[in-house]
Point group: C2
Chain length 136, copies 2
């Protein structure tokens, strides 16, 4: 983490460490406010503003990802450097990262049909995780 930050001119502060740690320790996606609440337990005195700023930087660097499906826009989950996507439990918010989206064929078809030069894609699945199935 430190290296990646420094390479981009950012500093590694205790606050940034704490925010990343909090997101990484959670199984489910968290809003900035929820992250703030958790971080404060280990790091009182941190400001919500710093949480916002940190989330932005960590997203830019790929340490964390924003999720969208199921009304979760603007909440975050730990990331990984490789290209991947998210499978989200609509009940408890648990997120599983997966790879192998295999969309290049579709991408090519769209590019041909529309003339768009395709840059990226957003793919998320929404479902019910095993533990939530038992409860329901």
């Amino acid at each position: 983490m430190g290296g990646t930050l420094r390479r981009r001119g950012y500093k590694l502060t205790p606050q940034r460490r704490a925010v990343l740690r909090t997101v990484a320790l959670s199984q489910d996606h968290l809003t900035p406010a929820a992250i703030y609440d958790r971080v404060r337990q280990q790091h009182p005195g941190i400001g919500l503003l710093t949480v916002y700023r940190t989330l932005q930087i960590l997203t830019e660097l790929g340490f964390i990802c924003e999720v969208h499906a199921g009304g979760s826009c603007g909440s975050y989950i730990v990331g990984s450097p490789e290209h991947h996507h998210h499978l989200i439990c609509s009940n408890c918010g648990k997120v599983i990262n997966f790879t192998g989206c295999n969309l290049s064929e579709l991408e090519q078809r769209l590019s041909q049909q529309t003339g768009f030069e395709i840059e990226s894609h957003l793919l998320e699945f929404l479902g019910c995780c095993r533990s939530c199935q038992k409860i329901a």
Copy 2:
């Protein structure tokens, strides 16, 4: 439109007509505030609040869709009843609807590997449309 609304206990008001018309006439996705500005030209006196309420209902009924990719969370584009997805120009916001996402194989693999019961998916492509390519 009128029939679908009435079937669900909603009324067809001039305001709702105007909001849908505005979204449908736009090639690109619009925020509630942008929709408000446009609707007001034909329908002064409408409140932003009514725009919010209408967008919610029209989304629920499938007349319009919310888009997410490229920081467009919370903006809307005209919809269609069949299952489809969006290809969005990251420069001008133009949206093209497409069908044939063909994700059932991937869906099945994920279901087996994770135990999730998969309910739905969110798929959007981001790219540069033909006219924006010429300009750039």
